[in-house]
């Protein structure tokens, strides 16, 4: 099934294009002089680059799954679809960077360049079909993320975020590598497909070694998607980083990590057995904890950004539910969830970012009476919040509904109930914003410059899918259903 290198490259065009974009951006940035504040050409080039990556990804979506580079990577519709989500997320964050006041001057192009690098890492990660490529993907993603987190060098919080991120990240990568080496030691291969086959026939001794080694392996991935108990870094990093960076972190690395986890779970553990039971059991506990801890921690937050950070932990928990059922229904639910989550998150972070730019902080009180000044923006925010909490007829509900479906088919009723109760808890804090926006009197009549007509238009157009996918979701669901995972 292996293709030769040249043939492999032809399937690898989006990744290559992303690399070219990154290097091109570095060159363009180098031509700017210090006093050039506006970098119109730079961002124009960035969008062109992203758009071309998107185009090729969309073309790839129709292709059959292939294994390339001697089976070390897989280009299948599943990874391609999630790559599309990642590229869109990067584009969204890039636009926010060009508008936000949180990051200024030189830092804007720096962000864009490094975000493109993270994107490349994420694309590798979601396509990885052997342990090494997976590790390279994770590291590419992580190392650039550490830099992104500490982007504002003069800001203490930002430096702290970067340091924390890299410490945690370094340790978890080490643990993961340790786990990988055991897996290789026992099974003698690093290729996912071969591991999947080998895992079907194991001796008791092998199981005894493999279970803990997979647990160590999971620690590395769990860290990337910030699931409990590997989540400690996430709120601090999310809060310390500038808002556009947080926006980026909440989508791209998370989706990449989930993609890798889905691939591993599906390829390795589709067959009944001790390993399968162990893996699903661990994931169930982690998922339940992730949802609950994320939500409960979100309740008490003062900063909206931090609240969204915690809530993104709990969303990762919900997506884990779709993964641990190990079924096609589960995978398509997670893919759909990721798509809707992208839009909801972008809208929420855009609005928080513009409010933050105005007042210098994003405490809940800053949203008081927003509806009397910016009715359209407030309605968009309200829709997004209701949607994040899972209220029909918004897409967040449909996403949750599909996850519920996936776990109820497997008869995991307890998990379904836990997920349901968490939905109620999350409604409480999401509603807090709506409550403040609508029910409190406005603090001031000042204009928020971020809400220019163009930005409002962009926010509205990002909200359209949130509403539309809540009512007519069949087409997208079809796309998600077709996004099959490559299985040899």
């Amino acid at each position: 099934m292996g293709l030769n290198y040249l043939a492999s490259l032809s399937h690898f065009v989006p990744e290559l294009l992303a690399c070219v974009t990154m290097f091109g951006l570095i060159l363009i940035e180098a031509t700017y002089k210090e006093e050039h504040k506006e970098r119109g050409l730079f961002f124009f080039a960035a969008y062109i680059g992203f758009a071309s990556v998107l185009t090729f990804l969309c073309l790839n979506l129709k292709h059959e799954a292939v294994a390339i580079f001697t089976n070390s990577a897989v280009i299948d519709p599943f990874s391609t679809l999630l790559k599309i989500v990642m590229v869109l997320g990067t584009m969204g964050a890039t636009y926010l960077v060009s508008q936000s006041k949180d990051i200024e001057g030189n830092l804007r192009p720096e962000f864009t360049i490094m975000a493109t690098g993270v994107l490349v890492g994420g694309m590798l990660l979601s396509s990885a079909n052997n342990m090494l490529l997976l590790y390279i993907g994770i590291e590419t993603l992580s190392i650039l993320s550490y830099v992104l987190a500490s982007l504002k060098k003069s800001d203490d919080r930002s430096s702290e975020a970067g340091l924390k991120y890299s410490l945690y990240g370094g340790i978890s990568a080490g643990i993961m590598l340790f786990g990988m080496s055991h897996i290789f030691g026992v099974l003698g291969t690093i290729n996912f497909t071969e591991i999947g086959v080998a895992l079907q026939e194991l001796t008791t001794v092998q199981v005894a070694i493999l279970l803990p080694s997979f647990l160590l392996f999971l620690a590395g991935l769990g860290y990337k998607i910030a699931c409990v108990p590997f989540h400690m870094w996430s709120p601090d990093v999310y809060e310390g980083s500038p808002i556009p960076v947080t926006t980026f972190f909440s989508v791209v690395p998370k989706v990449a990590g989930l993609a890798a986890l889905i691939r591993i779970t599906t390829v390795f553990f589709s067959h009944e057995g001790a390993m399968n039971m162990g893996w699903v059991g661990i994931l169930s506990v982690i998922a339940a904890l992730t949802m609950t801890v994320g939500n409960i921690s979100a309740i008490g937050q003062r900063s909206v950004k931090r609240m969204l950070a915690y809530s993104s932990i709990s969303h990762a928990g919900v997506m884990l539910l779709g993964i641990l059922v190990i079924s096609e229904v589960g995978i398509r639910s997670v893919v759909f969830y990721a798509i809707t989550y992208l839009f909801m998150n972008l809208v929420a972070f855009y609005i928080v970012s513009f409010v933050n730019d105005k007042y210098g902080n994003d405490h809940f009180e800053r949203f008081n009476g927003l509806i009397y000044r910016y009715p359209v923006m407030s309605i968009m925010m309200a829709i997004t919040m209701f949607s994040l909490a899972g209220l029909p007829p918004f897409s967040g509900f449909v996403a949750k509904f599909h996850i519920f479906n996936a776990i109820v088919i497997k008869k995991y009723y307890v998990l379904a109930i836990i997920a349901g109760l968490n939905s109620v808890i999350s409604m409480y804090y999401y509603m807090k914003i709506i409550r403040l926006m609508v029910l409190k009197p406005a603090e001031s009549e000042e204009q928020i410059s971020g809400f220019s007509l163009l930005n409002q238009g962009i926010i509205v157009s990002l909200t359209v899918p949130v509403l539309f996918l809540g009512i007519f979701w069949e087409k997208i669901m079809l796309v998600a259903t077709n996004a099959k995972i490559f299985l040899e």
């Binding site: 209220l391 029909p392 509904f401 519920f404 009723y413 379904a416 109930i417 349901g420 029910l439 669901m477």
Partner: protein, 510 residues
């Protein structure tokens, strides 16, 4: 039949057309917004009357000519499916009537008129959706969407403590509906018998009796477990003790019209849910739990009455009286006899009219007094001698009060009598104890009446003006309803008889 077959669509979407219309009226033209809303709700009400007129009372089950079924999500067999039967029709007409009256009663709303009426009409559309939906998924969507306008209507236009009330109402109902969602999805898959559908009618008839499921090694009956889930979801809405704690807050804080809608229509959605979904889908669990439901109903009756008696805020008193009266509905449902269920559905309708009157009257009074204390916190009287000051008001109030109390000749009496007839053979003890609830009901209402309307006229009350023409005008239809249906309930009873008979005979098989 092509012409009439779209009637349900028209009723369902007419208020939505109203919302769209309001969006195009400039904010400043408040009268135009009010008039437009009035026209819109009038047309809607007229359409519900058309539906009533065309309704075939001999047909048990769904009225086929009105059915609408359009595929919505094919991969899940979800349909946009509307239907009407004898159980939902009284609720639909009631909804049409109450929203029309509430638009008139909301004429004096000054704050954010445009948003108010837009949300109000939106609410009406979602309420119709709940009563029409014949697909569980569609039902769920409407059930949830309804929370959004309710949240804002209580939260923006409510009383002092409105935020707390709105949030509590929202979260409580959301909690219930999440349990319902799990039950709903489980139903879809548990069928395992080639149903794979959210169609309420297809799920009916005890198809899940022999299923079991295992949770952590313990085996549960599928039907019983998920009946409890659905029960809690609906019970929160009714509200059944101990899930009632949101209600006093929501009622007291909500503006008058919203209290009316809440008590008149929204509470009934809970009991309607039992009749439409929980009972027919899990008949064997219904029989199994009917004792428990009856006892919960009894607790509602007695507990609600005692709570009402202790209130010093007249609106809270009426709110608790709703808890008590919904207890009667639960009793009638638990009876599982034709008479009892007929009584329960009739009580749903009658309570809708009588409680609506009570809340409207309190609203009228509040516009004059700006407080609702029967006895103020400092011990002085809040009202006194209203009877001499406001004769017209007093007469209508008396009608409302007696209807609510269940005085023979007024509507409450007939439904309560039917309920008692229905449950007597099954639950003798409960019947006797519930009769005590009637007595308590009379006690707290009369006591309240005595303190507010008789005695010395306190200084403050002398400045109150009597009801104006608009207020009398919108109270009249309800007065007529409670009196006419008290003497001659057949127009309502005839409509529901066949459907209720159908349901009860289906339950009787288990």
């Amino acid at each position: 039949m092509q012409a009439s077959s779209n009637l349900l669509n028209w009723i369902l979407w007419m208020p939505f057309i109203g919302v769209l219309g309001i969006l195009f009226i400039p904010k400043a033209k408040e009268t135009a917004i009010r008039v437009w809303s009035l026209i819109n709700t009038t047309v809607t009400f007229a359409l519900t009357l058309v539906l009533y007129a065309k309704f075939d009372t001999t047909v048990p089950g769904m009225q086929v000519p009105f059915n609408i079924s359009v595929p919505w999500i094919k991969s899940f067999n979800i349909f946009y499916k509307l239907g009407v039967d004898g159980i939902s029709l009284p609720m639909i007409v009631l909804t049409g009537l109450l929203f029309l009256i509430c638009v008139l009663s909301s004429w004096t709303v000054k704050k954010q008129v445009k948003a108010y009426f837009a949300l109000f009409l939106f609410l009406q559309s979602t309420v119709f959706g709940v009563f029409f939906a014949m697909d569980f998924f569609l039902f769920y969507v409407y059930w949830e969407v309804m929370l959004i306008p309710m949240f804002f209507l209580i939260g923006i236009w409510g009383g002092e403590n409105r935020e707390y009330a709105a949030v509590k109402f929202f979260l409580y109902t959301f909690l219930g509906s999440i349990l319902m969602l799990v039950g709903m999805v489980a139903l879809y898959y548990a069928s395992g018998k080639g149903i794979d559908s959210f169609d309420i009618l297809a799920l009916q008839g005890g198809k899940f009796s022999d299923l079991t499921l295992t949770i952590f090694g313990a085996t549960f009956s599928f039907a019983k477990l998920f009946f409890v889930f659905l029960f809690i979801g609906f019970a929160i809405k009714v509200p059944v003790f101990p899930f009632h704690t949101w209600l006093p807050h929501a009622h007291v804080q909500a503006p008058t019209a919203i209290s009316v809608i809440l008590a008149g229509v929204l509470l009934k959605m809970g009991t309607y849910g039992f009749l439409r979904i929980a009972f027919p889908i899990f008949p064997e669990a219904t029989i199994y739990f009917s004792d428990a439901i009856a006892w919960l109903g009894l607790i509602n009756v007695i507990y609600g009455a005692f709570c009402a008696m202790a209130q010093t805020d007249v609106k809270k008193l009426v709110a608790y009286s709703s808890v008590s009266h919904m207890g009667f509905v639960m009793l009638g449902l638990a009876a599982l006899t034709v008479t009892g269920v007929n009584g329960a559905v009739l009580q749903m309708f009658n309570h809708g009219t009588s409680t609506a009157m009570m809340f409207l009257m309190i609203g009228v009074l509040y516009e004059r007094s700006h407080h609702r204390w029967i006895v103020r916190p400092d011990g002085s009287k809040g009202f006194g001698g209203l009877y001499t000051q406001l004769p017209k008001f007093s007469i209508i109030f008396i009608i409302a009060m007696f209807a609510s109390m269940g005085l023979p000749g007024l509507s409450g009496f007939i439904s309560e009598a039917l309920i008692f007839l229905g449950i007597y053979e099954r639950f003798t003890t409960i019947t006797v104890l519930a009769l005590l609830g009637l007595l308590l009901g009379a006690a707290y209402l009369l006591w309240m009446f005595k303190r507010m309307f008789f005695g010395d006229v306190i200084e403050e009350c002398k400045s109150y003006t009597d009801m104006n023409a608009r207020e009398i005008f919108y109270m009249l239809p309800l007065c007529v309803a409670v009196i006419v249906f008290g003497i001659y309930p057949s127009p309502v009873l005839d409509v529901m008889r066949a459907s209720v008979g159908n349901l009860v005979s289906m339950l009787a098989k288990f």
